[in-house]
């Protein structure tokens, strides 16, 4: 079994399929908080839903209102299962911190430079930031 040690921004556990965003995105203007779909015109993952996925984002671009979109996703029960970011960020995790204060479901947020994971990989994430690649159910 292959493992990676990520840095933990916010701890938590998850096991889910990956959705990898192949181009930079700002959640504000990039993700519809009502459906969790990618709505940025021309984005490679346009139309995909982030809800329930381990969302792998190599590069974020930064509207600071993205925290609000993250919180709205958590409020609507449409948040990803976990975030794996390519670089340190405080905007999305702040949305998760606030969700926790409101008593809504939170999610782990990890940082791993150049995350190698591809859409449809199945991963597990633990409280210490250990990421494991699980055998795909289709194999």
């Amino acid at each position: 079994m292959t493992r990676w040690q990520a840095k933990v921004l916010l701890e938590g556990t998850a096991q889910a399929k990956v959705l990898r965003l192949d181009a930079p995105i700002s959640f504000w203007g990039g993700i519809d908080p009502a459906t969790s779909q990618v709505i940025l015109a021309g984005h490679p993952q346009f139309g995909e839903r982030v809800s329930g996925k381990i969302l792998v984002i190599r590069q974020l671009i930064g509207s600071s209102s993205s925290s609000a979109v993250m919180l709205e996703l958590a409020y609507g029960g449409l948040a990803p299962a976990a975030l794996i970011l390519g670089a340190r960020d405080a905007i999305l995790p702040i949305g998760v911190v606030v969700a926790g204060q409101m008593g809504w479901k939170t999610l782990p947020v990890l940082v791993l430079p150049d995350p190698p994971f591809q859409t449809e990989d199945v991963l597990s994430v633990d409280d210490l930031g250990m990421i494991k690649l699980l055998p795909s159910p289709d194999d």
Partner: protein, 415 residues
């Protein structure tokens, strides 16, 4: 992370309201995630989080207010989603309008000054050179760093109000002197002095700087003077197309008396010589459709100053507008216009005055997407994504003449 006794007491709930503990938790977690080893006291806040993005933000701010959170430092509010003086101007559905209103009220309950403007620095909120502040709204952040020399990073939703409640911000980025030094030089000495005096040059310069520098601090050379409204337009353009939060204009802005000081004594990593072709290309990138009929004109991003409003009156003369002209402005400016009836003179020309909010953050522009002309790089940048309208960029004079003609009129002498 090193926290003071006061900070630790608030974080543990030993002192202060439960809402203050929530705010301190947000600031400390943000500091940890950003790699800051301590917090820095701030003297003011400007809060962007009063713009409605969904019910969750309203519920959070109402909880903060109900749990006793109050701002510890003077804090102004950025635009909300409603013109509180004319609520029917905005076409939000009734349920969303109610939640947008509740969000604005929650900020007032927490003690924010209800300024509802993206240009608080022209409404009296002017921190001094070197003061630490925690501001949101990208143009205001760029202005306060660049023009006033106060120190802030870009603070967005939730962290902005949390900083104002705690009077603290994570000590990183532009709060620290060494991160304020320019590493890139943008040299304008190859441009004609006539071009450098045009108002419309500045938003284009900003848009160009945003694209060239991303979030790198740059020093602009070759510009001898600029008005505050010109610098405002430059900052807004740069903060829209890039993540620019600080520009040193050598000889003009307070931290850049000369190039050596702006660079902090180091050599520049790169010098970009701007030529006329680059300016024209940056200008043209702000228009997404060809000259022809227009459906509206949008002015005031950032919110128009009194001088900018009066310039519209002067340029328009007696010629009424054939398409809706929206001027977004703060109440502070409206009050100045009301002194001699200039507000009514604008309305008589066919202007819709948009107070407390702005036409790219809430549905006010004509419902059917069309062509929107503007003199703002920021409006041009965000128009299509936020409203569906296609932008055409022009000078203020071109915008006024085009509104009177109903189609784009160009002034060949400007560029």
């Amino acid at each position: 992370m090193i926290l003071s006794n006061v900070e630790r007491a608030i974080l543990s709930g030993e002192s202060g309201a439960a809402g203050a503990r929530m705010a301190m938790d947000i600031v400390v977690q943000a500091a940890r995630m950003l790699g800051a080893d301590r917090l820095v006291p701030v003297v003011s806040g400007h809060i962007d989080g009063c713009l409605y993005h969904g019910d969750s933000g309203t519920l959070f701010c109402e909880k903060l207010a109900a749990e006793g959170a109050r701002v510890a430092v003077p804090a102004t509010t950025n635009v909300g989603a409603l013109n509180l003086l004319n609520p029917d101007q905005c076409r939000l559905p009734p349920d969303q309008r109610k939640m947008a209103y509740r969000l604005m009220v929650a900020h007032e309950r927490m003690g924010c000054a209800p300024s509802w403007t993206c240009a608080p620095y022209q409404a009296g909120a002017r921190p001094a050179l070197g003061q630490q502040v925690a501001w949101g709204e990208s143009n205001a952040v760029a202005f306060v760093n660049t023009v006033l020399g106060a120190r802030t990073n870009r603070y967005g939703d939730f962290l902005d109000i949390a900083c104002a409640i705690t009077g603290r911000a994570p000590c990183y980025g532009l709060h620290r002197a060494r991160n304020r030094r320019a590493s890139l030089v943008v040299d304008l000495s190859g441009l004609s002095p006539v071009l450098l005096r045009q108002d419309a040059f500045f938003p284009v310069l900003g848009a160009l700087i945003g694209r060239l520098t991303g979030e790198t601090v740059c020093a602009v050379t070759g510009l001898d003077c600029a008005s505050e409204d010109q610098l405002k337009a430059m900052c807004a353009g740069a903060a829209a197309t890039g993540s620019v939060a600080l520009i040193h204009v050598v000889g003009v802005t307070p931290e850049a008396p000369d190039l050596k000081t702006a660079l902090g004594g180091r050599a520049a990593a790169e010098v970009i010589h701007v030529d006329r072709d680059m300016v024209i290309a940056a200008r043209d990138a702000l228009s997404l459709t060809c000259d022809g009929p227009i459906d509206s004109v949008a002015l005031g991003s950032p919110h128009f100053s009194e001088a900018e409003c009066r310039a519209v009156l002067r340029l328009a003369g007696a010629g009424r507008f054939k398409v809706p002209v929206y001027i977004c402005l703060g109440r502070h400016t409206l009050a100045s216009l009301q002194v001699d009836g200039a507000d009514q003179a604008l309305v008589a020309l066919g202007v819709d005055l948009v107070v407390d909010t702005c036409v790219v953050v809430t549905p006010i522009l004509p419902a059917k997407p069309g062509v929107m002309m503007t003199n703002s790089a920021k409006f041009a940048h965000y128009a299509t994504g936020n409203t569906g309208h296609l932008p055409i960029f022009g000078t203020l004079g071109e915008c006024v003449a085009s509104a009177q003609a109903g189609s784009v009129e160009r002034d060949g002498t400007v560029w």
